[in-house]
């Protein structure tokens, strides 16, 4: 295959890479974004969903606090389709340090974060589920942000300027010419085919994997990995984002997202960028902390848990020795490897927040443009994204459309109200590219509701077969892969209600359908009682 040439190759289909692609597009640069999986499968799809006001950082990390409030204001303007303006509360309880609220208010004022003090009664009138043990409570401009919609919005907007994307392609090698990086070798993660892309500059937005990419250029970028877990509860216990008003700790935040409420998070240092484990203590901790703010919530139904990894970077210059986890600043760094390491053609961005992705993109693209001689300034903060659809997902809107006959066709995923024509359309959008059920999940939210795929995965697998003409075995395996993936996020939460739900799901898969006989993984005539794969 003849190598393809672009001005800039962006590595990483998370919020930062997507925002960078859009920024490059507006500056007239021909750019290609490459992502090893689907969009949003990295940290951006495993995060908490909060468009920070900056309040959380107001005391310890004023720089991040300022960045957050500025970007919060900008994203509300340019990506309204991805944001639900829930507002936020900071709540101190009897258990929290009494002197903290005063420091916090000062910090917010210094960072420019508007706060409004409420009486506990006012707060409870707005959010009746809150604890009566409130000692202080403030309103801040937090919001809930859907990273799927945000990233798809940036990508769609970049495409209107002619920029391109390539998913399921991994950068496996960087191509050097002397001290300059001139391109990359990509591997199709589904077929193994390779191709070469030449680029005047590469923008490394690989999130927790940035040091892997830098390593391909022989450059050491020291990143610490900080894992955090989140739990989705099956209803919106609160309609406003609720933060604990105390020095940042585990389980401080409740975020209403769509039909659920996401609790989190924890902070555990780990050695691997893809360590997504959730330890039992993390589940207990998160539920206990949420219980202190919203009594009764721990007896609610926990739907799904997931973990993400924050890449924490501190420039060697500003090195305090054993800082870890929350003590490391959440601000970001742009690494110009030409200036730092004498390697041209590669710029890395690391750290930061989803809230600040546009700013991170702006500052990184500034450096990239300098290297390739483009002088156009950043204009991404100016206007609503062009070409972006108003896809903001609201379950009640889907129900309304269904009930008024606006979305014809049978209902395939009852929990998230996805119809057959919607699934067919989403499949068609992939053209002749392979489609996994998990891709459809990210596109449409199938299988993300209370039953976690119990009913819709058979239906969706069969529709996928009909449209794509897959073999029976391929279809059974795609079905099994999907339900196994759904299980991973439910497994830490299997007790009480969700255990019962998953018993039913497992019975449907194993007994009603007999899926386990048909994946080719084991011999159906083997003795079920045989020892072997133990409990």
């Amino acid at each position: 295959m003849t190598p393809q040439t672009v001005d800039v190759l962006v590595i990483g289909g998370g919020a930062t890479g997507a925002a960078a692609l859009y920024d490059l597009a507006r500056r007239g640069v021909r750019a290609l974004l490459v992502e090893q999986n689907d969009f949003t499968t990295g940290t951006s799809g495993r995060y908490h969903g909060l468009l920070h006001s900056g309040g959380r950082y107001a005391v310890r990390d004023p720089e991040t606090a300022q960045e957050c409030i500025a970007e919060n204001t900008i994203l509300r303007r340019i990506t309204p389709f991805a944001i639900e303006d829930t507002g936020g509360l900071f709540v101190a309880t009897l258990d929290d340090p009494a002197d903290f609220p005063a420091q916090w208010v000062t910090g917010c004022a210094a960072a420019g974060i508007p706060t409004e003090q409420l009486t506990p009664e006012q707060a409870r009138a707005q959010e009746p589920a809150l604890t009566p043990n409130i000692t202080a409570v403030y309103r801040v401009p937090d919001a809930s942000v859907d990273s799927f919609d945000l990233i798809h919005g940036f990508i769609a907007a970049a495409r209107t300027y002619g920029c391109k994307t390539l998913i399921y392609h991994r950068v496996t090698q960087l191509i050097h010419e002397g001290d300059t990086i001139v391109g990359a070798r990509l591997e199709d993660t589904r077929t193994g085919a390779t191709r070469i892309i030449h680029a005047a500059c590469i923008l490394n937005a690989a999130g927790p994997w940035v040091s892997v990419i830098a390593g391909l250029a022989g450059i050491a970028v020291e990143v610490k990995f900080d894992r955090g877990a989140m739990i989705a509860m099956n209803m919106r216990w609160v309609n406003t984002i609720v933060n604990r008003l105390r020095p940042a700790a585990d389980g401080d935040i409740l975020v209403p997202v769509g039909a659920v409420c996401v609790l989190g998070t924890t902070s555990v240092m780990t050695d691997h960028p893809d360590d997504y484990r959730i330890e039992p203590w993390e589940v207990s901790k998160i539920l206990n902390e949420a219980e202190a703010v919203v009594p009764g919530i721990r007896y609610g139904r926990a739907l799904r848990a997931w973990a993400g990894v924050r890449p924490l970077y501190e420039s060697p210059a500003a090195h305090h020795n054993d800082t870890a986890g929350r003590a490391v600043m959440r601000t970001f760094s742009v690494l110009d490897h030409a200036a730092l390491h004498g390697v041209r053609g590669l710029v890395t961005v690391v750290g930061g927040k989803l809230t600040t992705c546009r700013l991170m993109a702006e500052q990184t693209v500034d450096v990239v443009c300098q290297q390739i001689g483009v002088t156009a300034p950043c204009t991404t903060a100016r206007e609503v994204l062009p070409g972006a659809t108003t896809r903001y997902h609201r379950l009640d809107q889907r129900l309304h459309r269904l009930e008024h006959g606006e979305t014809p066709g049978e209902l395939i995923c009852e929990c998230e109200m996805v119809t057959r024509p919607q699934i067919e359309q989403a499949i068609a959008a992939y053209g002749d590219q392979p489609v996994a059920l998990d891709d459809l999940r990210r596109d449409l939210r199938i299988g993300m509701g209370p039953c976690q795929g119990g009913f819709c995965s058979y239906r969706a697998a069969a529709i996928l077969q009909e449209v794509k003409g897959h073999s029976a075995l391929e279809t059974n395996r795609a079905f099994a892969a999907f339900v196994r993936e759904r299980y991973q996020g439910v497994r830490p939460l299997l007790w009480g209600h969700q255990l019962r739900q998953f018993y039913l799901d497992e019975l449907i898969y194993r007994r009603t359908l007999g899926l386990d006989w048909l994946t080719g993984d084991y011999d159906p005539h083997e003795n079920v009682y045989a020892e072997g794969d133990h409990d």
């Binding site: 039992p280 589940v283 207990s284 539920l287 721990r298 014809p408 066709g409 049978e410 209902l411 395939i412 009852e414 057959r420 009913f455 058979y458 239906r459 069969a462 529709i463 077969q465 009909e466 073999s471 029976a472 075995l473 279809t475 059974n476 099994a480 339900v483 196994r484 299980y487 497994r491 299997l494 007790w495 009480g496 255990l499 019962r500 018993y503 039913l504 497992e506 019975l507 449907i508 898969y509 194993r510 007994r511 009603t512 359908l513 007999g514 899926l515 386990d516 006989w517 048909l518 994946t519 993984d521 084991y522 003795n527 079920v528 009682y529 045989a530 072997g532 794969d533 133990h534 409990d535």
Partner: protein, 431 residues
């Protein structure tokens, strides 16, 4: 003995699953006065509707089961004993025939059936509703025609046909218009089944199918062919299409299970049993190791009901017979009976990392009540906890209902045993 004559009965059965319902039937048949109390219907309203006794048995099922029970004396089948095994199946066939939802078995006596699923896998229960038995694939060589409805979300026959082909069975898929009003976006199996009760609506399906029958040896429908008139409905299809027609279990809710539940309930009511479905038992009233009554939840308060014997068939982790929490605690909420679990600290041993692991998950295999051969729940030392409470069905420990293919057989066998013990005791006591 009983506190008030109005609310007293010989036996209270708690639970309306297969275990509870058949226990009530047996008790009624011996002439006892029976009250059945359940929070809701049992699992049969979501299951395929067949009776798995020992799905893995290749030959004579009962012989294999006896061999297995002899090697595993703590297994519920061993505890129930093997006379009861055959007896409970015969009684089940008799009662289902009497109420008009007959269950049948493989033509090859004592062997398991071979029934296709919606996905085209083959499941091997011992008994099934007659409407499914006509789809037995044992020895079938001809082509199977699989029927579904255009725009119906719950059965994709082409996928089933392609999976059956892999297993050497020729099948062909056809879609016809559903009976009745144009396609609704959420057409449930039970609603479709009601439409099949109407001869005129059914006729339209049959007429559409005629040209597609061709060489088919049998014709398979999703299990929605009639709710109240299902025997007539299926016979009508079979007669007009001149091929054996059969039903394939659907996703929940289960039409075959709904037919069975409705008719068992009506039968029990006709026999003057009291049937209260929709009421949880919240608490057992115990005096000196004997249960004298149960408190039953009603709006904002509880009502006591009294009896001499109690059959506990509350269904284990799925239906609330056993409760679980985040810390890994497992408890039986009515009598606080000792619950055996998978062991380990917290929930660490409950679930395997792989959902579809062959042997299934430890939490389902191990969680339940330990009982003796009299079906009495035991304490840690192996002694009965209460003199007149007997447990049956999914509530017992020692088998995995998801993987072992024996849960329904266990429900029937242990329910029969529990009733036999309870009523024999009752007879002794009155002397």
């Amino acid at each position: 003995m009983t506190k008030t004559t109005q609310t007293g009965s010989d036996v209270i059965v708690i639970g309306a699953g297969l275990a509870g319902l058949t226990a009530a039937v047996h008790a009624v048949q011996t002439g006892a006065t029976v009250r059945l109390i359940a929070q809701g219907w049992g699992q049969q309203i979501v299951t395929p509707g067949w009776i798995s006794v020992c799905d893995r048995a290749k030959d004579d099922v009962i012989a294999e089961l006896r061999g297995y029970a002899a090697l595993h004396p703590a297994h519920p089948y061993a505890l129930a004993g093997d006379e009861g095994m055959i007896d409970c199946l015969e009684r089940f066939r008799a009662i289902t025939k009497a109420i008009g939802v007959p269950y049948g078995a493989c033509v090859k006596a004592g062997h398991n059936l071979r029934l296709t699923t919606l996905l085209g896998a083959i499941q091997t229960p011992l008994l099934a509703p007659a409407s499914m038995v006509s789809g037995d694939l044992t020895g079938v060589t001809g082509e199977i025609l699989l029927v579904s409805f255009t725009g119906w979300r719950d059965f994709y026959p082409a996928l089933a046909a392609s999976n059956l082909a892999k297993q050497g069975i020729t099948a062909r898929a056809v879609l016809v218009d559903a009976p009745g009003a144009p396609q609704a976006w959420d057409l449930w199996p039970v609603e479709l089944a009601r439409r099949f009760d109407d001869p005129a609506l059914r006729q339209r399906v049959i007429d559409q199918l005629r040209p597609h029958v061709q060489n088919a040896a049998k014709i398979g429908f999703p299990a929605v062919v009639g709710l109240e008139q299902h025997v007539e409905a299926l016979a009508d299809c079979t007669q007009q299409l001149e091929r054996p027609c059969f039903e394939i279990a659907t996703l929940p809710p289960s039409v075959p299970g709904t037919r069975l539940s409705n008719r068992l309930r009506r039968w029990l009511l006709r026999q003057r049993a009291r049937v209260q479905i929709g009421h949880p038992v919240v608490h057992g009233i115990v005096e000196n190791r004997r249960c004298v009554g149960v408190d039953v939840g009603a709006l904002g308060h509880t009502n006591p009901f009294y009896a001499d014997q109690f059959i506990l068939a509350t269904g284990g982790l799925y239906n609330g017979g056993i409760q679980s929490d985040e810390s890994g605690r497992l408890w039986e909420p009515i009598f606080d009976l000792p619950v055996k679990g998978p062991g380990g600290t917290g929930r660490e041993k409950w679930y395997h990392a792989n959902l579809l692991v062959h042997r299934g998950h430890a939490v389902h295999r191990h969680t339940g009540l330990r009982v003796n051969t009299r079906m009495q729940p035991l304490d840690a030392d192996g002694a009965p906890v209460l003199d007149n409470v007997y447990a049956a069905g999914h509530l017992l420990t020692g088998f995995n209902p998801l993987t072992d293919g024996c849960a329904e057989g266990i429900a029937l066998a242990t329910a029969l045993k529990a009733v036999q013990v309870a009523l024999a005791l009752e007879a002794q006591k009155s002397y």
